[in-house]
C-alpha cells in the first residue's frame, strides 16, 4: 500500500537543527504512555523507550567536532514500490496493523504472542519487547494514566503516535459536530518539546504545517532506500547530519539518493 492510498497520513517533521537532546519528548512520552522503568536501564536492548533520542557526531577532530540529536519515534512506515510496512507484514497474530485511514501503525499488546518477529523486522529499532514485568514500587503506579493500559511481560510495545489522543479528538469532533482541527490531535512529545523541534499533523492535508515542512530541500527520512515510506521526516541544513540518515558509500553524493535513485 502506498501512502497516497491513505485518507489521512499522520506524521512528523523533526527539525534536527532545533533539537537540543534534552530528552523532554522522551520523558513526556513515557509519562503519557505508562512506560515502565526497570532497576537497570543501561542495557539499551532491554530498556523500553518508545521515543529514543540518539546522539550522533560528525567524527571530525577537535575543534571541528559537532554533535546532533535524532529523536526516533516509530516511523509508521507505509511501504512503497511493492514493499510493506516491515512489522505488519511479519506479525502472525495481527497484533500490529497499519490503519489506512490515518496511516498509523497500531500495536495491540493483548493480541501479541511475543514472537518478536516484528522487533527483528523493524529497521529502526522502534519496537521493544517486555522481557520483564515492570516493578511498580509503592507510589510509582500512582501517576499512571488511565487512558493507556500498562503492558505485561512477554509482549511487544512501541510508539502509537498517542493514538488514544486521536480517539479523544475524534470523540470531541463527534460531540461538537466540528471537524477535527490540527491542534486537536497532537502527540505528547510534540507538545513537550521546549524548542518546538517536532511538528505533528496530517502529511496529506495542505492546511497542516507538516505538509509544507516536509517539502523543505533539507528534509529527509531515515533509511529511505528501504522504501519503507516512513511518516517521520527530519530536517537539517547540515549535510553531515543528512548523510547519517542512510548508509552512503564514501564518495556517494547525497543529492542523487534524495532524488529517488534507490538501490
Amino acid at each position: 500500500m502506498s501512502s497516497s492510498a491513505s485518507e489521512m497520513r499522520f506524521g512528523m517533521v523533526i527539525d534536527v537543527d532545533k533539537c537540543t537532546g534534552c530528552g523532554a519528548c522522551s520523558v513526556a512520552c513515557m509519562s503519557e504512555n505508562n512506560v515502565g522503568v526497570l532497576p537497570d536501564e543501561t542495557d539499551k536492548i532491554r530498556s523500553i523507550t518508545w521515543l529514543r533520542v540518539y546522539q550522533i557526531d560528525n567524527g571530525q577532530p577537535y575543534p571541528n567536532t559537532q554533535i546532533a540529536f535524532f529523536p526516533r519515534p516509530c516511523q509508521h512506515c507505509a511501504g512503497s514500490q511493492g514493499h510493506h510496512t516491515p512489522c505488519v507484514s511479519v506479525c502472525p497474530a495481527t497484533a500490529t496493523d497499519r490503519d489506512p485511514k490515518t496511516g498509523i501503525v497500531s500495536q495491540i499488546p493483548t493480541r501479541c504472542i511475543g514472537c518478536r518477529y516484528c522487533v527483528a523486522a523493524c529497521p529502526y529499532h522502534a519496537r521493544y519487547f517486555n522481557w520483564y514485568d515492570v516493578p511498580w514500587p509503592e507510589g510509582m503506579d500512582k501517576p499512571l494514566s488511565p487512558f493507556v493500559a500498562p503492558r505485561m511481560r512477554g509482549v511487544v510495545e512501541k510508539c502509537t503516535f498517542c493514538f488514544h489522543r486521536y480517539q479523544r479528538a475524534q470523540n470531541k469532533a463527534f460531540t461538537s459536530g466540528e471537524a477535527m482541527g490540527e491542534m486537536d490531535y497532537q502527540t505528547a512529545c510534540t507538545e513537550a518539546c521546549p524548542s518546538g523541534a517536532i511538528t505533528f499533523g496530517d502529511l496529506n492535508n495542505p492546511e497542516h504545517k507538516v505538509h509544507e515542512l516536509k517539502k523543505s530541500p533539507y528534509a529527509f527520512r531515515l533509511l529511505e532506500r528501504l522504501h519503507t515510506d516512513t511518516a517521520v521526516y527530519y530536517v537539517s541544513a547540515r549535510e553531515w547530519v543528512r548523510r547519517q540518515a542512510d548508509n552512503y558509500l564514501s564518495g556517494e553524493k547525497l543529492a542523487k539518493v534524495q532524488a529517488g535513485g534507490g538501490h
Binding site: V27, T42, P109, G139, P150, M152, E191, S195
Partner: protein
C-alpha cells in the same frame, strides 16, 4: 445406530468440521490470550474526570499545567505535568524534569514520608510534634547558653518566601550564619553592581539577532531552560533570517554544536576573548558613547590595547585570530547583538572577571537598555514580610564581610566552621538543598555535617544530607503545597511564579515554610514575633499583596513584567558606567587561574545536561531511563569524556576504567574518547553517583562533586570550581602519565 468404523469416521469428521465452523476455537484462543495476560500485578490505573490546574516547577522555573484525574475510589491524582501554552516564559514547553515530576513526587522510596529523629544512632519515624520540639529545644538551649550565633542555616533560594522567612528567623533568633547555595545570580549581581551600580539585569535573548555566549551552557541549563529554548527556537524559525549564535567554550557541547560558530578556547580564557573583542571594537572606533564617557575608559582602553590585542588573545585562548575577528565584526555589525555570561559548565557561579568582561563588551557595543541587549529589570514588587530586623553582631562564619558586597558562601562557612575559626558550629539546619551531595566540595560539606553536634534538615527527599541528619522534617513537593519562585537567572523581565496544592500531600509532609513556623512558634519570643503567621500560605499572601493578591496570582500562576524595560541608568558612585569600578580602582583583570601540574596533568570540568537534572534535585526514574551509554554504562559506570589524542598520549583507550583523582578526592569512571573534548581535559557528567534514593538512582555512576576542588574566585571571593586539576590512572593499575 450401529457404531461401526464408517459411523466413527463420519462422527470424527463431523466433529472436526463442526468445531471449526463454531466460534468456540477462536473464542477460546482469545480467552486464553486474555486470561494469560490478565495478571494481577500489572497495575490497572483507575479512571475518572480529567481536570487541569496551573502551577510552576520551582526547580526548573517552567510554567506547567498538571493533568489531574479525579477517580471515584482512589481520589484525585496528578497523572501528568504538561507545558502551559499560555505561560509567557515557557510557552507550552517542558523539560524532562518537569514531565517526570509526578513520578518523582509519588515515588515513596525517594521521599521522606514522616518526620524522623535519630535516637542512639538509629533513625526512626516520630510524630511531627516530637521532631519539631527536638529542633526547637536544641535551638532554645543554644540561645540560652549564648551560642545562638553557632547555629548555621544552609538553604537553596534566597528569593523564595521560604528564603525570606529564613532571613527573618535567623536574624530574630540571633545567628548571622544564614547562607544559600552558590549561584551565578550572585556573580551577575556583583558584576552589575560594580559596573552599573545595579545588579538586577538580564539578557534580552528573545530579541537578539547576534548572541555570543561566553562559557555558559546556554542550552543546557542556563536561566529558565525552557524560556531560553523558546528564544533559540525563534532564532531558528526563519531559515533565511536566522539569528546567529556563537558559543565560546573548550568542549563541543550541545550549545557549541547548535551554535553557528564555536570558538574552542582553552579552559578559563572566555573572559580574555570578550576583552579582545571589545578591544577590536575600540580600535575600529565603534564605541558607544556611554562606554566612551565611562569612568576609567582611558585606563580600560590602554589595558585592552596592551594586554588583549588580537595576537595576545589568540595565543592565550588558542582560538585563531581570524575567527576572533570574524565574531567581533559580526557582533559589531549586528543591529541587536548581546554577549552573555552565566553559570559555568560545572554548575559553578562563574568567574567575576569573565562576567565583567562580558558586561564591558556589551557596554562598548552600546546595547545597554536596548532591544536585544542587556536590560535592567523592573524588579518584583513583593511586600516584605515585616519590618527590618537588627542583624546579629557576631562575625559571619563565611567571612562575608570581607567579600565585595558581603556576598554569602556556603563553602567558606563550612571551611571556617571545620577549623573552628572564629568559632565552631553547634547546630546546622539545611533547608531544601543537598550539600552532602552537591557540595560544591561534597566531602567538606559531609565533614561539616559529621562534625556538627546537631543537624536538622527540611527535605522532600531522603537524600544524602537527610540520611546524615539527626532530625528530618518532610517537605511537601511543589504539587502538594503553596510556594513561589522569582525571576530566573538572566531573564529580561522580572517574574514571580506561585504554585499551590493540587493533590493531597503525603500525610505528614508540609511546606518548608510551615515547618519553620512550627519551630518559630515553639521558640517564642523574637523568633515568633518575626514570623507572625499561622501558616506559610499567610506569609505568601502577605508577600503577594504587592503583586495584586495571592488569589489572583494563584489563578493565573504568575506575575510578569509586561515587556522588557528599555532605557538604562547607572547608580554607581560616579553616576556613569564604570569600566574601572571605584571598588576595584582599575578595570577587572584575570588572576592566575587553576593550572595543571606534573602530578595532576589534566583539568576536570563538568558536563552540564538537562538529562542528568536541573536545579540540584535528584533525577526521577524516567530521567535515568533517558541517559545514554555515553553517560552511564553497564549498570553503574559513569562515563567521562576525554580527547582521543590526550588518551593516546596517556596510553588510555575507549572503555578503560580509570580513577580520576584531585587534591580533594577521587572518582572511578569509564573513558569515552570524544573528539569534541578539549585536549588536556576530562569532562565528567554532573548529577550522578548518589548514595541515596533507592534502586533507580542509588550507586549509579560517581559523583562529580567528590572530585571537585573548590577555590575562591580571585575576583568575587565566591567559591569557584569550574576547573579542577586531576590525574588519571587506570583503575587497578598505574597509567603511563
Amino acid at each position: 445406530m450401529n457404531w461401526d468404523r464408517r459411523a466413527f469416521v463420519k462422527f470424527a469428521v463431523g466433529a472436526v468440521v463442526g468445531l471449526n465452523a463454531s466460534p468456540l476455537v477462536p473464542k477460546l484462543m482469545d480467552d486464553v490470550a486474555i486470561w494469560t495476560q490478565n495478571w494481577s500485578w500489572v497495575p490497572d490505573p483507575e479512571t475518572g474526570a480529567v481536570a487541569f490546574a496551573k502551577s510552576i516547577n520551582p526547580a526548573t522555573q517552567t510554567g506547567v499545567k498538571a493533568r489531574l484525574v479525579k477517580a471515584r475510589l482512589s481520589g484525585q491524582r496528578v497523572i501528568r505535568v504538561e507545558g502551559d501554552p499560555e505561560h509567557p516564559l515557557s510557552q507550552g514547553g517542558v523539560l524532562a524534569a518537569d514531565a517526570a515530576a509526578p513520578q518523582q513526587s509519588y515515588y515513596q522510596a525517594m521521599r521522606v514520608d514522616a518526620p524522623m529523629v535519630r535516637k542512639e544512632g538509629v533513625r526512626g519515624r516520630v510524630a511531627a510534634e516530637e521532631a519539631v520540639q527536638k529542633v526547637a529545644a536544641k535551638l532554645k538551649a543554644l540561645a540560652q547558653a549564648g551560642k545562638a550565633s553557632q547555629v548555621a542555616i544552609i538553604a537553596d533560594d534566597p528569593f523564595s518566601v521560604t528564603g525570606e522567612m529564613l532571613m527573618r528567623l535567623a536574624a530574630a533568633y540571633g545567628t548571622p550564619n544564614l547562607v544559600f547555595m552558590p549561584s551565578a545570580k550572585q556573580t551577575l549581581a556583583l558584576a552589575g553592581g560594580l559596573m552599573f551600580g545595579q545588579g538586577d539585569i538580564g539578557f534580552d535573548l528573545a530579541n537578539a539577532t547576534y548572541t555570543v555566549s561566553f562559557g555558559t551552557p546556554l542550552l543546557e541549563g542556563f536561566g529558565a531552560p525552557v524560556a531560553v529554548r523558546k528564544a533559540f527556537a525563534a532564532w531558528r524559525k526563519d531559515p533565511m533570517h536566522r539569528a546567529t549564535l556563537v558559543q565560546v567554550e573548550p568542549r563541543s557541547s550541545v550549545t557549541a554544536s547548535q551554535a553557528d560558530l564555536w570558538l574552542a578556547c582553552k579552559p578559563g580564557t572566555e573572559g580574555v576573548l570578550a576583552y579582545a573583542m571589545a578591544n577590536l571594537m575600540i580600535q575600529a572606533g565603534k564605541v558607544d558613547s556611554a562606554a566612551a564617557n565611562a569612568a576609567g575608559f582611558e585606563q580600560f582602553k590602554a589595558l585592552l590595547a596592551g594586554e588583549y590585542s588580537l595576537e595576545k588573545a589568540s595565543q592565550a585562548s588558542g582560538v585563531p585570530a581570524d575567527k576572533i575577528k570574524a565574531v567581533a565584526e559580526g557582533f559589531m555589525k549586528a543591529p541587536k547583538a548581546v554577549a552573555v555570561c552565566g553559570p559555568g559548565n560545572s554548575g559553578d557561579p562563574g568567574r567575576l572577571f569573565d562576567f565583567m568582561a562580558v558586561l564591558a563588551l556589551n557596554a562598548v557595543k552600546g546595547n545597554l537598555g536596548k532591544p536585544g541587549g542587556l536590560v535592567l529589570r523592573q524588579g518584583v514588587a513583593w511586600k516584605a514580610l515585616g519590618g527590618p530586623l537588627d542583624l546579629p553582631g557576631a562575625p559571619r562564619l563565611d567571612g562575608g564581610g570581607k567579600r565585595i558586597m558581603g556576598s554569602y558562601s556556603a563553602y567558606d562557612l563550612a571551611a571556617a566552621a571545620l577549623k573552628g575559626q572564629p568559632y565552631p558550629l553547634e547546630a546546622l539546619i539545611v533547608v531544601g538543598c543537598n550539600p552532602a551531595f552537591a557540595g560544591p566540595q561534597a566531602k567538606v560539606m559531609r565533614q561539616l555535617i559529621d562534625n556538627t553536634p546537631f543537624v536538622a534538615c527540611v527535605s522532600e527527599f531522603m537524600d544524602e544530607t537527610a540520611e546524615l541528619a539527626d532530625v528530618v522534617l518532610p517537605k511537601a513537593s511543589f504539587l502538594e503545597c503553596w510556594g513561589d519562585c522569582a525571576t530566573p537567572y538572566g531573564a529580561a523581565q522580572s517574574f514571580y511564579g506561585v504554585h499551590q496544592p493540587l493533590v493531597s500531600a503525603l500525610p505528614q509532609t508540609k511546606s518548608a515554610g510551615d515547618w519553620l513556623l512550627a519551630v518559630a512558634k515553639l521558640l517564642g519570643g523574637k523568633a515568633a514575633e518575626a514570623l507572625p503567621f499561622a501558616e506559610a500560605k499567610e506569609a505568601l499572601a502577605a508577600r503577594a499583596e504587592g503583586l495584586g493578591g495571592l488569589e489572583d496570582l494563584a489563578a493565573k500562576g504568575y506575575w510578569m513584567q509586561e515587556k522588557p524595560a528599555y532605557g538604562f541608568s547607572f547608580k554607581t558612585p560616579s553616576g556613569r558606567l564604570e569600566l574601572a569600578p571605584s571598588a576595584l580602582g582599575k578595570p577587572a583583570a584575570p588572576a592566575a587561574g587553576v593550572a595543571p601540574s606534573k602530578e595532576r596533568p589534566l583539568l576536570m570540568a563538568g558536563i552540564p545536561s538537562l538529562r542528568t537534572g536541573a536545579g540540584g534535585a535528584p533525577m526521577s526514574p524516567y530521567q535515568v531511563k533517558i541517559l545514554d551509554e555515553i553517560t552511564l554504562a553497564h549498570k553503574d559506570q559513569l562515563v567521562v569524556e576525554i580527547n582521543p589524542q590526550t588518551a593516546h598520549a596517556m596510553h588510555l583507550g575507549e572503555g578503560d576504567m580509570v580513577e580520576i583523582a584531585s587534591a580533594a578526592g577521587k572518582i572511578n569512571a569509564r573513558l569515552h574518547l570524544y573528539h569534541g573534548a578539549a585536549p588536556g581535559m576530562v569532562f565528567v557528567p554532573v548529577g550522578l553517583g548518589h548514595t541515596a534514593f533507592g534502586m533507580y538512582l542509588k550507586n549509579k555512576g560517581a559523583n562529580f562533586f567528590e572530585a571537585v576542588e573548590v577555590a575562591a574566585d580571585p575576583g568575587s571571593g565566591l567559591p569557584q570550581w569550574a576547573l579542577t586539576p586531576v590525574s588519571i590512572a587506570k583503575a587497578g593499575g598505574v597509567s603511563h602519565v
